[in-house]
């Protein structure tokens, strides 16, 4: 058992993670649902009463309870991993990425999952915190619903199901992501 835990505690390579994620997607389909995490934002708005004013949120959210349970599980999965399966919190990013981020003023890149100097409650109202956490979160919520899905719904389920709309959405994901990371981030991180 201890050896098994030790085995699980190593970082997982892409060829383990990818097939397991496909399994999660296929099992959800076998259960009669479709994989799509961002729909939960709409469900939460609906539970909060947004359907009274806006018809988009006026739907039977009870049909989406399974999806809320799924993200509760995702939260617990993160908790279990950090408590028992994560002896080393370092992220195995490339040396090129590390030295590049150091040149932009990021301290100890890859030491934790997030750049902790920006992602903390005290930095929330700095330029970086406002743009990256609050602005970024807003764009994620707005964009996913506009595009009708996020990485799970379009990039994983939609592409697996050979849907052209999903390919267009994923191209959009990369246009947006490449713009920010390559053109904006060097200035934003150096503020």
């Amino acid at each position: 058992m201890n050896e098994f835990i030790e085995f699980l505690s190593q970082p997982w390579p892409w060829y383990i993670a990818g097939p397991l994620l496909a399994l999660v997607m296929l099992l959800l389909i076998y259960f009669g649902n479709t994989f799509g995490v961002s729909s939960n934002f709409r469900t939460m708005c609906s539970i909060g009463g947004a359907g009274k004013k806006i018809p988009f949120f006026d739907f039977n959210w009870k049909s989406q309870v399974w999806n809320l349970v799924f993200i509760l599980g995702a939260f617990l999965g993160g908790l279990v991993t950090t408590m028992f399966l994560m002896p080393d919190t370092a992220v195995g990013i490339s040396e090129t990425t590390k030295s590049e981020l150091i040149s932009y003023g990021i301290q100890n890149p890859g030491e934790q999952m997030l750049p902790s100097q920006i992602f903390n409650l005290e930095s929330l109202f700095t330029v970086q915190g406002l743009i990256m956490i609050i602005g970024g979160g807003f764009l994620v919520g707005f964009g996913t619903r506009y595009a009708g899905g996020c990485t799970s719904g379009h990039a994983i389920t939609g592409l697996s199901n050979l849907q052209l709309p999903s390919l267009i959405a994923v191209i959009g994901f990369f246009i947006g992501g490449l713009l920010i990371t390559n053109l904006v981030m060097p200035y934003l991180l150096a503020v």
């Binding site: 496909a22 076998y30 349970v69 999965g77 279990v80 992602f119 979160g137 994620v140 389920t157 052209l164």
Partner: protein, 137 residues
């Protein structure tokens, strides 16, 4: 009881995303800088296996656990909706370093500040719902 299987799958999802570092802001940055194969390997192998699995489900006419035929609705064709919406999402993905799934997993990993990103995403979804009829789809 019928929800237990979703809880178990969600836990598995959270463990996979943490152990493969997909929830890391640094991994997303590295991906958009083409400095590592890791994220492309994760997404690519998921889609490849997913594609084979879905083809198999369709060919064999597999029924769901409740005995219903499995149908995955085709997405309605549009270019503007997916391209504009997708690009907006991409901007947010690169800024927060997290798409919706990883946000909940990061919270479980103890990064409380991500609650603010989730709250902002809820506001974003609400604003989309309010402006929906004015946007090109």
């Amino acid at each position: 009881m019928k929800y237990l299987k979703y809880l178990v799958l969600g836990i598995l999802f959270g463990i996979i995303l943490t152990k493969s570092e997909v929830i890391s802001w640094f991994r997303i940055y590295e991906m958009f800088r083409f400095q590592s194969f890791h994220m492309y390997g994760v997404i690519g192998s998921t889609v490849l296996i997913g594609m084979l699995g879905l083809q198999w489900i369709k060919r064999k006419n597999i029924h769901s656990i409740y005995g219903q035929p499995i149908q995955i609705a085709d997405k309605k064709m549009s270019v503007s909706r997916y391209l504009i919406g997708g690009t907006i999402f991409g901007l947010g993905w690169a800024l927060t370093g997290a798409c919706p799934g990883p946000m909940f997993v990061l919270l479980g990993n103890g990064f409380v500040v991500i609650l603010v990103a989730i709250a902002a995403a809820l506001v974003g979804t609400y604003v989309y719902g309010a402006l929906r009829h004015k946007l090109p789809h």
